[in-house]
């Protein structure tokens, strides 16, 4: 705006109107800047501002520029927000949710194999089915994630899962075949498979989830950046001020009370400003809801679920390992500590509409923990009542754990749903806004031009 408005500022004595009309935006280049401008342009503006029609022409150009800038800021902000929210809604968000589900499915498969092994040489049919469906489900998630793509890092993480998972299932089947024949080498295969799952596959899924969590964070930042509404507000205010100034100019120069064209243009611009900020604010509020009622509980409950599955798997594998279990017991203890002292209290502290789905988790976990502790003591403290420990673990312990796991899965899904709904709602009005600000800006420029032109025509 300064090339048009600024030259007039240092010549206040010439015409007080000139400065009033064109210095709506405060500030401008210093005195040194003038010298560098083409002399002709300065001369033209000076001569133009000397007469009322000339002044009005300059005002028309300045107002057009301001409205255009305002429109550009509003449109660019809207499009940036829309693309950021879309990226979270269509890619990073679903990928994160799918990664969490994949993590839970794979953990469930691994824990199920261990508990099925404990149950005896013939694994119970329902465990076999549970393992099969977990692996199937994991395969489905993987296929969807692979199609969704992502950056190189995400692709590398997925590739690890895709290439290692068949090796894992192969080892599990070898464990089964040996187990059926009563061969103790089956346990060694199981252990090898579980090690692969824990040390390579699950960390890769975690890496993939973390990458998508970062993308969600990035989408949130781009989709709600403070600079966007600030630019819109400042340029909108400047536009409204300039329009008011132009009307003031006309009022004084032409001695007219009102210019209905300019007044309408002003109202349209005011509406554009208010609507833009209102939609931005609503979008932000929906994103806050999606985060606080969807993303955060989902991530925490998802973690509570996979940590629970990990402890469950540790307990079963520890019984299978029967002696060489110090690493498993240490992992179970550390994981239980994190789950019981950090994750479950955090989950319980979450407020929000799905709270009742989460409050059941802690007592369910405590029940399981009691039973697993009982089984653990049977093996260690009272020295090797291994069959009793196995009976508790595959019986009441498994029932209690499954209650916890089902509750965690349900709480996860309700939060995931809310996350998706919140993102869809946040995106909802942005496309309409892009159209609205464009229409309003075009109408504003047209009305303003008509309003000023009519006055200019009167001087001919």
């Amino acid at each position: 705006m300064s090339p048009v408005t600024a030259p007039v500022a240092p010549v206040p004595a010439h015409s007080r109107w000139a400065s009033a009309a064109v210095s709506a935006a405060p500030g401008g280049p210093g005195i040194r800047g003038w010298a560098s401008l083409p002399r002709e342009a300065v001369a033209l503006l000076r001569s133009g501002a000397r007469t009322t029609p000339g002044l009005l022409r300059i005002a028309a150009v300045a107002l057009t520029a301001l409205i255009t800038l305002f429109w550009a800021a509003a449109l660019a902000s809207t499009l940036v927000r829309q693309s950021a929210v879309d990226a979270v809604r269509d890619r990073a968000g679903p990928s994160f949710v799918a990664a969490q589900r994949l993590h839970a499915d794979l953990s469930a498969a691994d824990a199920t194999v261990a508990i099925a092994y404990l149950a005896g040489t013939i694994e119970p049919a329902e465990r076999r089915q549970a393992y099969d469906s977990s692996i199937e489900e994991a395969g489905r998630e993987l296929a969807a994630l692979t199609r969704a793509g992502g950056g190189d890092e995400a692709r590398a993480a997925l590739e690890t899962v895709v290439t290692r998972l068949p090796v894992y299932t192969g080892w599990v089947e070898q464990a089964r075949a040996n187990n059926r024949q009563g061969h103790v080498v089956g346990a060694a295969y199981l252990w090898k498979a579980s090690k692969l799952m824990r040390e390579e596959i699950l960390p890769a899924v975690e890496t993939f989830a973390a990458i998508n969590a970062d993308r969600i964070d990035d989408g949130y930042r781009r989709g709600t950046h403070w600079s966007q509404p600030t630019a819109v507000a400042v340029l909108g205010a400047a536009t409204l001020a300039a329009l008011a100034g132009a009307q003031w100019l006309l009022f004084r120069r032409a001695n007219r009370v009102l210019n209905p064209w300019l007044l309408t243009a002003t109202l349209l611009m005011a509406a554009s400003l208010v609507v833009t900020l209102a939609v931005f604010s609503a979008e932000r509020a929906r994103l806050v809801e999606a985060r606080d009622q969807g993303f955060v509980p989902m991530a925490e409950v998802g973690q509570a679920r996979v940590l629970g599955l990990r402890v469950w798997g540790d307990h079963s594998l520890s019984l299978i390992a029967r002696g060489d279990s110090s690493a498993l017991d240490a992992d179970a203890a550390a994981t239980t500590e994190r789950l019981g002292k950090e994750v479950l209290p955090a989950v319980a502290a979450l407020a929000g509409p799905d709270q009742e789905t989460r409050t059941v988790l802690r007592p369910a976990w405590v029940t399981y923990e009691g039973l697993s502790g009982q089984a653990y003591r049977l093996v260690t403290e009272t020295a090797g009542r291994f069959p009793d420990a196995v009976a508790i673990t595959v019986g009441d312990g498994a029932v209690a754990f499954e209650r916890y796991d089902a509750a965690a899965a349900a709480a996860f899904e309700s939060s995931a749903l809310r996350f998706g709904e919140g993102l869809a709602a946040a995106d909802g009005r942005l496309p309409g806004l892009a159209v609205a600000v464009s229409v309003l800006a075009a109408a504003g420029v047209a009305l303003m031009a008509i309003g000023l032109w009519r006055r200019i025509e009167e001087y001919r």
């Binding site: 103790v184 060694a188 824990r198 604010s281 955090a346 090797g384």
Partner: protein
């Protein structure tokens, strides 16, 4: 805010209000949001074992004959009447004896898993070592000494055998434990109850005939065993690979990660039965070339009376034919294929 050059024309009040309202709305609703993963939603790292399996204790081989052990009492106390102040008496008063056994090494110590008539999984400790432990328990408690209330098994890995005795987690260990001087520095041993021979298991189609062909090749043995030491010390120079259990060694062999497994002959036959595509190299079993592993019951160093008592039980079961019955039941099926004759119990040598 006033117009430059027109001091008497302030911004209209309505415009000011509008601007102020906008500024407030902008300030309240435009701060950039972030949505990082909550702390409780971050994955937890895998915890590692606080104490990795200890390396095999190797010490000076200067204790003379490591098979010499306490002389049994002249008259064995009858079950239920243990001499006061002995570990046997404490065990009797406590009501149970805890024995460390292997859980995945057939035919010595393993957990047999079956399904009962109700379709429930049932698991029970089985094996030569396990039956030996039952004989010892019966000598303390009487005929019902081998039931679940009197005899409690603690599954141990090879590497855990010495620590569980030292920590007092178990009263005795019956787990194919080779008696040698290095170990005698840490625990006491009974007289040997079996004379095993160290040999090698390879894949059926491999060209090896014995450890002598395995120079520079990877040979697996369980961590914390004398077998692993023997691999390390073998003049042919095989590359030792230590894994937690013999089953882990079998998995490694099946995946061609190692060329051979070296441990006691009977254990290797147990492994060969789990994989018909392997064979035990009998060449190493030839007399003279054989590497004998005399296996004995491990007892805490503070309880020579217990060691003597166990030796008394061993003498009894050799004398009354129980030893032969147990060997026939647990081991002979494995050995018959290549052993020249039915094994004989090692001759006991007592201190003094």
């Amino acid at each position: 805010m006033t117009w430059p050059g027109s001091p008497r024309a302030p911004l209209p009040v309505t415009a000011r209000l509008t601007l102020a309202g906008l500024a407030m709305a902008v300030a309240a609703g435009c701060a950039t949001l972030s949505s990082p993963l909550p702390a409780a939603g971050r994955p937890a790292a895998l915890a590692t074992s606080p104490a990795p399996a200890p390396a095999t204790a190797r010490g000076p081989d200067d204790c003379g004959d490591p098979t010499i052990s306490e002389r049994p009492p002249a008259v064995m106390p009858p079950p239920g009447a243990m001499p006061a102040g002995t570990l046997m008496d404490r065990i009797h008063q406590r009501g149970s004896i805890t024995v460390g056994v292997l859980a995945d090494v057939p035919p010595f110590g393993y957990i047999e898993r079956t399904v009962d008539e109700h379709g429930q999984g049932v698991s029970a400790f089985q094996g030569f070592d396990v039956d030996l432990a039952k004989e010892i328990a019966k000598s303390i408690f009487g005929p019902d000494g081998a039931d679940e209330t009197h005899l409690k098994f603690r599954a141990v890995t090879y590497a855990e055998r010495i620590p569980v005795i030292q920590d007092g987690d178990v009263d005795i260990v019956v787990a194919t434990m080779t008696t040698n001087c290095a170990r005698r520095a840490a625990v006491d041993f009974s007289v040997p109850y079996y004379d095993a021979v160290a040999t090698v298991l390879v894949l059926k189609d491999s060209p090896y005939t014995g450890m002598k062909d395995l120079g520079g090749r990877k040979v697996c043995a369980p961590l914390g065993t004398t077998s692993l030491e023997h691999v390390e010390d073998h003049p042919a120079g095989p590359v030792q690979v230590g894994l937690p259990t013999v089953a882990d060694c079998l998995v490694a062999l099946q995946h061609h990660e190692v060329e051979a497994i070296s441990t006691d002959d009977v254990i290797l036959v147990g492994l060969a039965q789990q994989d018909p595509q392997t064979r035990v190299l009998v060449d190493d079993l030839l007399p003279g070339d054989a590497d004998h592993e005399l296996i004995a019951v491990g007892v805490g160093k503070d309880h020579p009376e217990m060691t003597g008592f166990v030796n008394g039980v061993l003498a009894r079961i050799v004398a009354d034919g129980t030893w032969e019955r147990l060997v026939r039941h647990h081991l002979w099926d494995y050995l018959a294929a290549f052993a020249p004759e039915f094994p004989r119990p090692p001759l006991p040598r007592y201190r003094d």
